[in-house]
C-alpha cells in the first residue's frame, strides 16, 4: 500500500506494476497513486523507469504484472486515445500540434464541431474561453508556427483541458522553457492544482520539484526507493536518493587558470543577435556564459566558430585569426559542442563510429576511409569518455541521453581543440552522468585547455566556472567571479536589474 493514499479514489493508480521487455524487467512492483489537486513528482535518473511509468499510465504500454486502477477498478487501456477518453492526458516533450493550423483548429483536431460545414465560430469561442481560463493571451486564430515554445505548451495544456483531463502527465515540461517562462508554467500548474487536476510531473530539475511537488516518488533501476511529502526532501537528498549514494563532490574543485590568454575577442557582432562583445579567455580557465535564452549566448558561440557570419576581432594565443567557417575554427584550435544534440549534434540513425569521426574524416585516410583507424578511435573514445553502449554497431539514437552527450563530447574533442565551447553541457541527462561530464570539463582545463560553458542552469554555471560572463539582449551585461558569483548577482545582470555586482 502507498502510505497516505486511498485506493478507492477516482484517479488512476499503479498497483504492484511490473513491466518487462523481453527477458529484461525494467519496472519492479511499483505502487503509485495520483490524487486530485496534487502535483506528484516522479524523479529518477535516465533509465530508472520514469518514461515506462508515464507510458503505462498514458495507455501506450500495458504492464506485464500488476494493475492500472481507475475509479478503484483495474483497467486496460488499449491505446493512448482510450486513456485520453478516460481523462488521462500525456503532454509529451515534443508537442503534438499541427504547425500550420490555427490554435482553435488544433484544440479541436479530430473532434471538430459542426456537421458538413465546420462551425469555426463555436470552436474559436470555446478556444478563447479555455485560453481565458488559463489566463493566456494567445489568439485562437494564431497559427501554431507563429507561437513561441511556451505558448505552444500552453496550447497543449489547453487541449488537454478541453478533453476534460482529470489527470495530466507532464514529461519534462520545463526543458523547453526559459527561466521566465518557467514562472508562467508554475502559475498554470498552481491553477490546475486548484481546479482539482491530478498532475504527474517528471523532471530532471530538482529545484523545480522541490518547489512544485506535493508528493515525490523517487525511482532507481525500476523500483521505488523513496516516497516523500512536500518539504521532506531537499535537493541534495533527492539527488542522493536517485543515484543511491551521496554526491558530496557534485561539482569538481575549481582550477588554477594561468595568466596567459588563450582567446581574446573584441567588438564581436552578429547582426540582430549580438552587439559588440569583447572578453578574454585564459588558458586553463572554465568561463561560464549565463543569460536568458534569447540573450545571444548560443549565437555568440556560433559566431566565434564560424557557424554564423560575425564581425569583430578574434585572437588565439595573441595571433589574430579569421574564422569564416567551422573548418577555420578547427584550424585555430576552437571547437563547439551544440546545445541541440539531437538535431545538430549527432546523426541519430547512424552508427557510433560514423558519428564520432564525422567532423574529422580527413584524418582517417586520404582517399579510402580507414575504418580500422576509426574503430580504434571509437575504442579510445569509449574508454576516455566512459560511453556505455550495449553494442558497438548500434545507432547513436538508441543510446541514452547521457551516453549521447558523451559521444558528442568525444566527437567535439577529436580535432584536439585547445578552446572548447560547450553549449548546455548537461541538457536532459541524468544526475550521475552530469557529475561525470563536469569532471571531464574540469579535466580539460587541468590539461591547460580553455573551456567556455554556456548554460541555463544557474547552479551549473556557478558550480563549474572560474568566472561567469552574463549576457543580456545581445550584449555583455557584466561578469562575476569569486565570491560575487551568486545566483542573485547573475539573475540581476541577466534581467537588467540595477545594483550590479562588481
Amino acid at each position: 500500500m502507498v502510505p497516505g493514499s486511498n485506493w478507492a479514489n477516482d484517479d488512476p493508480a499503479l498497483q504492484d506494476v511490473s513491466k518487462s521487455f523481453g527477458p529484461i524487467e525494467v519496472l519492479h512492483n511499483v505502487d503509485l497513486a495520483l490524487e486530485p489537486g496534487e502535483v506528484h513528482a516522479l524523479i529518477g535518473e535516465n533509465g530508472a523507469g520514469k518514461s515506462t511509468i508515464m507510458k503505462i499510465l498514458g495507455g501506450f504500454l500495458d504492464p506485464t504484472g500488476g494493475h492500472v486502477l481507475l475509479n478503484g477498478q483495474p483497467v486496460a487501456f488499449g491505446s493512448g486515445p482510450e486513456a485520453e477518453a478516460a481523462g488521462i492526458v500525456v503532454i509529451h516533450q515534443e508537442f503534438n500540434l499541427a504547425p500550420d493550423l490555427s490554435v482553435a483548429a488544433n484544440m479541436f483536431l479530430g473532434r471538430e464541431i459542426g456537421g458538413w460545414r465546420l462551425d469555426h465560430a463555436a470552436m474559436r469561442k470555446q478556444t478563447a474561453a479555455l485560453l481565458e481560463r488559463l489566463h493566456s493571451p494567445i489568439a485562437p486564430e494564431a497559427r501554431i508556427r507563429e507561437l513561441s515554445v511556451p505558448d505552444r505548451q500552453m496550447v497543449e495544456i489547453g487541449k488537454a483541458l478541453s478533453r476534460n483531463a482529470r489527470v495530466l502527465i507532464m514529461d519534462e515540461p520545463s526543458a523547453v522553457l526559459t527561466h521566465r517562462e518557467v514562472g508562467t508554467l508554475y502559475e498554470q500548474i498552481d491553477r490546475l492544482r486548484a481546479e482539482g487536476v491530478a498532475i504527474l510531473y517528471c523532471s530532471h530539475r530538482l529545484d523545480e520539484v522541490a518547489h512544485l511537488a506535493d508528493r515525490i516518488t523517487v525511482l532507481r533501476d525500476g523500483s521505488v526507493v523513496r516516497r516523500a511529502m512536500r518539504g521532506e526532501l531537499d535537493e541534495d537528498s533527492m539527488a542522493a536518493a536517485m543515484v543511491g549514494r551521496e554526491l558530496q563532490d557534485f561539482y569538481p574543485p575549481k582550477g588554477q587558470p594561468s595568466d596567459e590568454s588563450a582567446l581574446e575577442v573584441s567588438g564581436l557582432s552578429i547582426p540582430g543577435k549580438v552587439r559588440d562583445v569583447g572578453f578574454t579567455l585564459r588558458k586553463g580557465e572554465v568561463l561560464g556564459i549565463a543569460g536568458l535564452v534569447g540573450s545571444g549566448r548560443t549565437e555568440l558561440a556560433e559566431g566565434l566558430v564560424g557557424l554564423r557570419a560575425a564581425s569583430g576581432e578574434i585572437r588565439v594565443n595573441g595571433q589574430p585569426v579569421a574564422i569564416n567557417n567551422l573548418r577555420d575554427a578547427f584550424a585555430s584550435g576552437l571547437a563547439y559542442l551544440t546545445e541541440d544534440r539531437k538535431e545538430a549534434g549527432l546523426l541519430l540513425d547512424k552508427g557510433l563510429r560514423e558519428n564520432l569521426t564525422l567532423a574529422t574524416l580527413e584524418r582517417f585516410g586520404r582517399f579510402r576511409l580507414d575504418t580500422a583507424a576509426e574503430d580504434a578511435a571509437l575504442d579510445k573514445a569509449t574508454g576516455d569518455f566512459d560511453i556505455r553502449a550495449p553494442r558497438r554497431d548500434m545507432v547513436a539514437g538508441k543510446l541514452s541521453g547521457g551516453n549521447q552527450q558523451k559521444l558528442l563530447l568525444a566527437k567535439t574533442m577529436l580535432p584536439d581543440p585547445q578552446i572548447i565551447i560547450i553549449d548546455e553541457p548537461t541538457r536532459g541527462i541524468d544526475v550521475g552522468t552530469k557529475s561525470q561530464i563536469y569532471a571531464f570539463i574540469r579535466n580539460l582545463s587541468a590539461e591547460g585547455r580553455s573551456v567556455i560553458v554556456i548554460s541555463s542552469e544557474m547552479t551549473e554555471v556557478i558550480g563549474l566556472s572560474d568566472r561567469v560572463l552574463v549576457m543580456r539582449e545581445g550584449r555583455l551585461a557584466g561578469q562575476v567571479e569569486g565570491d560575487s558569483m551568486t545566483e542573485d548577482n547573475i539573475v540581476r545582470l541577466a534581467m537588467g536589474v540595477s545594483g550590479e555586482a562588481a
Binding site: 549534434g345 541519430l348 566527437k411
Partner: protein, 323 residues
C-alpha cells in the same frame, strides 16, 4: 558491418527469381545475344541511376535527367554535324560531340545544383522546371522533328554502342566501371560519408564542418556528368535525337534507386542496390517481350507494382527496427 540484411537481400532475391523465371519461360533468354541486349539497355538508365543514388542519398531529387539526356544528345549531334565540314569524318569530330555531351551534362548538373543550393529552391521545383526547359529546347532545336547525325559519322560512331570486348559491349563495360566506382565512393570515401550524413541530417552535417552546399552541388554535377556519359553511349544506338528521346528515364532511374533500397528521404545510399534495381526493371521488360504470358503493354503496371512492393518492404523493415 557488411552483414547482409533483408534490405539488400530482398532485391537480389527478386533479381535471381526473375532470371530463373526468364530461363524457364524461354531458352533464348540466356543466349549471349539477349544478355548483351538487356545489359546494354540497362546501361543508360543504370549510369543515370548511379548518379541519382548520390543525389537522393544527400536528400535531393532530380526530375530533369531524361530531358537532359535528350537535350545533350541533341546538342552533341548538332556539334558533330557542324564540326564535320571543318574536321572531316573522323574520331576527332566524334570526340567533339562526346565532349559537348559530357561538359553539357556537367553544366546542366551545375545549373540544377546551383539553383537548389544557392537560390535555395526545392529540388523538386527546380528540376521540374529544368525538365520542361531541356525537353522544350531539344524539341525546338529539332524543330519538332528529329535531329540526325550525319550518315558517315554514324557508321564510324556505331561501334561505341554495338562494339566491345566479345559480347560485353562498351555500354556494359562503362556501366560496370561506374557502378564499381560509385559503390566504392559511397562506401569508402569521405565524399560518400558526407553525402550520407547530409541526407541523414543536414544540420548535423553543417555543425560537423561539412560544406553542405558544396557536397550537394557536387552530387548534382556528378549526376549531370553521368547523364552526359549515358548520352555519349546512347547517340550511336540510333544516331538521332528528338523530343521523345529519354522520356520517363528520370522516373525509371528514381524507381531503380528506390527498389535498390536507398531511402527516398536520403541518408542511406546503396549503389549495388541501384544496379540490382535497374536490372530488375530491364528484366521485367525483357521477359514480357520474350514470353507471351502477359502482354508487354502491361510492363509499366508490373514495374509499378514492384516499386510499391519495394517501398512497403522497406517500411516494414523500418518499423521492425523501431521496436
Amino acid at each position: 558491418m557488411s552483414k547482409p540484411d533483408l534490405h539488400t537481400l530482398g532485391p537480389l532475391v527478386a533479381l535471381i527469381a526473375l532470371i530463373v523465371l526468364g530461363a524457364l519461360l524461354n531458352p533464348a533468354f540466356l543466349a549471349p545475344g539477349n544478355i548483351t541486349n538487356v545489359l546494354a539497355r540497362s546501361a543508360f538508365i543504370g549510369l543515370i541511376a548511379v548518379g541519382m543514388t548520390f543525389v537522393i542519398t544527400a536528400g535531393g531529387l532530380d526530375l530533369s535527367v531524361g530531358s537532359m539526356a535528350a537535350f545533350l544528345a541533341g546538342i552533341a549531334i548538332i556539334a558533330m554535324n557542324a564540326a564535320l565540314p571543318g574536321m572531316g569524318e573522323n574520331w576527332g569530330t566524334i570526340l567533339v560531340g562526346m565532349g559537348v555531351a559530357v561538359l553539357g551534362g556537367l553544366v546542366a548538373g551545375y545549373l540544377n545544383g546551383a539553383l537548389i543550393t544557392k537560390a535555395r529552391i526545392e529540388p523538386f521545383i527546380v528540376t521540374l522546371g529544368t525538365m520542361g526547359i531541356f525537353r522544350s529546347l531539344v524539341t525546338w532545336l529539332a524543330d519538332g522533328g528529329t535531329l540526325s547525325l550525319d550518315y558517315g559519322l554514324r557508321t564510324l560512331y556505331r561501334p561505341v554502342y554495338y562494339g566491345g570486348i566479345g559480347w560485353i559491349t562498351w555500354p556494359i563495360i562503362t556501366f560496370a566501371l561506374v557502378a564499381f566506382a560509385g559503390e566504392w565512393i559511397m562506401q569508402h570515401s569521405r565524399f560518400g560519408r558526407h553525402v550520407e550524413a547530409i541526407g541523414s541530417n543536414d544540420r548535423v552535417a553543417r555543425y560537423s564542418a561539412i560544406d553542405v552546399n558544396r557536397i550537394r552541388l557536387m552530387t548534382y554535377m556528378l549526376l549531370g556528368l553521368l547523364v552526359g556519359v549515358a548520352t555519349v553511349l546512347y547517340v550511336p544506338r540510333l544516331g538521332s535525337a528528338s523530343g521523345s528521346t529519354g522520356v520517363l528515364w528520370e522516373l525509371e532511374a528514381i524507381a531503380a534507386v528506390i527498389i535498390g533500397g536507398t531511402a527516398l528521404k536520403g541518408g542511406t545510399g546503396r549503389v549495388w542496390g541501384t544496379v540490382v534495381g535497374v536490372l530488375i526493371l530491364s528484366l521485367i521488360d525483357n521477359i514480357l517481350n520474350l514470353a507471351d504470358l502477359v502482354s508487354p503493354y502491361l510492363n509499366g503496371a508490373i514495374q509499378g507494382v514492384i516499386i510499391v512492393l519495394a517501398v512497403i518492404l522497406q517500411r516494414e523493415k523500418r518499423t521492425a527496427e523501431e521496436r
